[in-house]
């Protein structure tokens, strides 16, 4: 038993704010920890699924973190991964059913990737690394922070890919149709960049974001 006097920590103490802020830049789950790349590849062709995916992950991660944190002292160490999987699977099924009921088109587009949130490395990573050792409020903030870090990258990639690949944003035409080259009529000067619709381009865009981030944030550069 520690004899230290416990001081009450305010809800948004500096440490807690750090939990929210850190994953945004210095400890971003995608660009620094390079987790959750698979979903960043698969569902960033259009902006809408990317936003829905971000919200789903935010719900699963925040709720899961809180649940794991609440029962952290009850989980036998040996079977903790199974317990974590049960929690995250139940939450993902909730999200899946919710999307099927209220956003059927998007849930069609996301198809298996909603189910695959279960295996999203960010979620298991946060359960293991944070929720198992911290109280529910901190775990909640950590979940929100990390899912925002994930969402920012996802939405940025989807924004670039949808705009340059299809000339649209959220399904609305942004680039005027009269700009497009019509080979038969010989008018127009613009064409969509089909490469942005292919998954490799998502990796290249993420790579460029990492490049730009490291150029600005020099403490991320490893020494070697």
């Amino acid at each position: 038993m520690s004899t230290e006097v416990k001081t009450k920590e305010s809800l948004f103490s500096k440490k807690n704010r750090q939990l929210l802020k850190d994953p945004f830049n210095d400890n971003n789950p995608i660009t620094v920890q390079v987790l959750g790349i698979c979903s960043a590849l698969a569902i960033t062709v259009k902006l809408e699924p990317a936003i829905v995916m971000s919200l789903s992950v935010m719900f699963v991660l925040a709720a899961g973190n809180v649940i794991i944190s609440l029962i952290r002292n009850l989980i036998p160490n040996r079977i903790r991964i199974i317990v974590q999987l049960v929690v995250v699977a139940s939450l993902v099924i909730l999200v899946d059913q919710f999307l099927k009921a209220f956003a059927y088109d998007v849930s069609k587009q996301l198809s298996v990737f909603v189910g695959l949130i279960i295996t999203n490395c960010i979620i298991m990573g946060r359960f293991e690394a944070f929720a198992l050792g911290n109280g529910p409020w901190k775990a909640f903030l950590d979940g929100i922070g990390n899912s925002i870090g994930y969402a920012v990258i996802l939405i940025a990639v989807a924004f670039v890919r949808e705009l340059l690949g299809s000339g649209q944003l959220l399904g609305k035409q942004i680039i005027p149709l009269s700009w497009y080259i019509d080979l038969d009529k010989g008018t127009g000067f613009y064409a969509n960049n089909g490469f942005f619709l292919f998954p490799p381009m998502a990796l290249i865009v993420v790579g460029m974001i990492i490049w730009a981030q490291r150029a600005k944030n020099t403490k991320l550069i490893e020494e070697n």
């Binding site: 080259i181 064409a191 960049n193 089909g194 790579g207 490049w211």
Partner: protein
């Protein structure tokens, strides 16, 4: 030339470290070394310098490309006037082609050098000659009617992602010119394939296209035979073009009298450039030879077990079409992205040719099989080198143990 030298000398204080315009130093340096032999001398120790520096190497490759480039210009004009059934002299063709080609070359160099100079300035490096060859290769592997901004975007992408992120010239994993073409091919497939872009058909005086005009390439036509089986009457008209009297006859394909990317059509002149490169010791004969053998072996296997006309094409004829020859001489031999070891070069070349023909025939939607195969082998080259070196180490260790 004295007065050019004077201009450089007079402006040098301005761009040097504490000069007013020191941001322009890389540009000044690049133009100066392009115009004159640099007079830099080393300040410490003794250095033996080989006369064949980067600049000499690059200029040699440029010389090797000139015949194919000039032929390409002539071919642009010939195909253009041919499409309208008009008579045209040699000079007409070349002038028309040069007018089409110049904007392409200018745009490529402007875009590529822009990125290069920016990075040299950021990194405090002098601009080097690395882009000299890529900048001429890129227009030669584009169709004549591609919009200029697409060339610019592809070039910028290739220099940025293909080269600068890895650290610039000499550090690149992929051949930058092929990266540009691969980007253009996946980004703007309408302008990189099909039958609208290979021959310029914009007429100044409202001419009509001749009857039976087709803008497709030989490989494009061949691809239509896939799935029809051998000796089918439906494929007869296509295959007649590949006979001795047809448009795509072996002789025409060898000389380059067929539509295609600007510089890639003339196997004869590309081979001439290749011989020049081998003679000067700049291009690796190992890569070229094994590339050819690899392609030939694959084509021979295909024609022995042919199930469609594309596979059944005479192996030699197969190699004369598309970008095979151009890839063999100018792309696969890129000294940076190819294998470095002698044995590695043989393996690298063989597999690049082998896969090139395989991709082209198995997936007719990708007539650019050669490009994809070379890029793939570029990525594999360090691995090949690694195992060649390991094998050598093992062999010598064994010899030592036995001695």
């Amino acid at each position: 030339m004295k007065f050019v030298q004077n201009i450089f000398d007079q402006t040098r204080p301005l761009v040097e470290k504490d000069g007013k315009r020191n941001l322009l130093y890389p540009l000044h340096n690049a133009l100066e070394t392009m115009a004159f032999v640099p007079d830099h001398t080393s300040h410490s120790g003794a250095h033996v310098r080989d006369a064949i520096d980067l600049k000499r190497t690059m200029v040699t490759v440029i010389f090797a490309m000139v015949p194919a480039l000039l032929f390409g210009m002539w071919n642009i004009g010939r195909l253009h006037f041919g499409a309208f059934g008009e008579e045209s002299s040699l000079l007409d063709n070349v002038i028309f082609g040069a007018l089409k080609m110049l904007p392409l070359i200018t745009v490529t160099y402007a875009a590529g050098l822009g990125v290069e100079i920016y990075f040299s300035w950021k990194r405090n490096h002098p601009v080097n000659e690395g882009f000299l060859v890529s900048g001429l290769l890129i227009p030669m592997i584009m169709p004549v009617d591609i919009p200029l901004w697409m060339v610019a975007v592809s070039t910028i992408f290739a220099v940025l992602i293909g080269k600068e992120v890895f650290g610039g010239t000499g550090m690149n994993l992929l051949n930058p010119a092929l990266t540009a073409r691969a980007f253009a091919f996946f980004a703007y497939p309408t302008w990189m394939s099909g039958d609208k872009v290979w021959i310029n058909t914009t007429s100044a005086d409202g001419g009509q296209l001749v009857d039976g005009y087709s803008g497709a390439t030989a490989l494009g036509d061949l691809a239509t035979t896939v799935g029809q089986g051998m000796g089918n009457p439906a494929t007869e008209t296509v295959m007649a073009q590949f006979g001795p009297e047809g448009t795509y006859s072996l002789m025409n394909a060898f000389l380059g009298l067929i539509p295609g990317s600007i510089g890639e059509t003339s196997a004869a002149l590309i081979l001439l450039g290749g011989l020049f490169l081998i003679f000067k010791g700049v291009g690796s004969w190992r890569i070229m030879l094994s590339f050819f053998i690899g392609g030939f072996v694959m084509a021979a296997i295909f024609s022995a077990f042919a199930v469609n006309e594309f596979m059944g094409l005479n192996p030699l004829h197969q190699l004369m079409l598309g970008g095979f020859m151009f890839g063999m001489v100018f792309m696969a031999t890129d000294p940076v992205s190819a294998s470095q070891t002698a044995t590695g070069k043989l393996i690298y070349g063989f597999l690049a040719g082998f896969f090139g023909i395989m991709i082209r025939v198995f997936n007719p939607a990708y007539p650019e099989g050669i490009m994809l195969a070379i890029l793939f082998m570029n990525v594999m080259a360090p691995l090949i080198d690694h195992y060649v070196v390991e094998a050598n180490v093992k062999r010598r260790a064994k010899r030592l143990a036995n001695a």
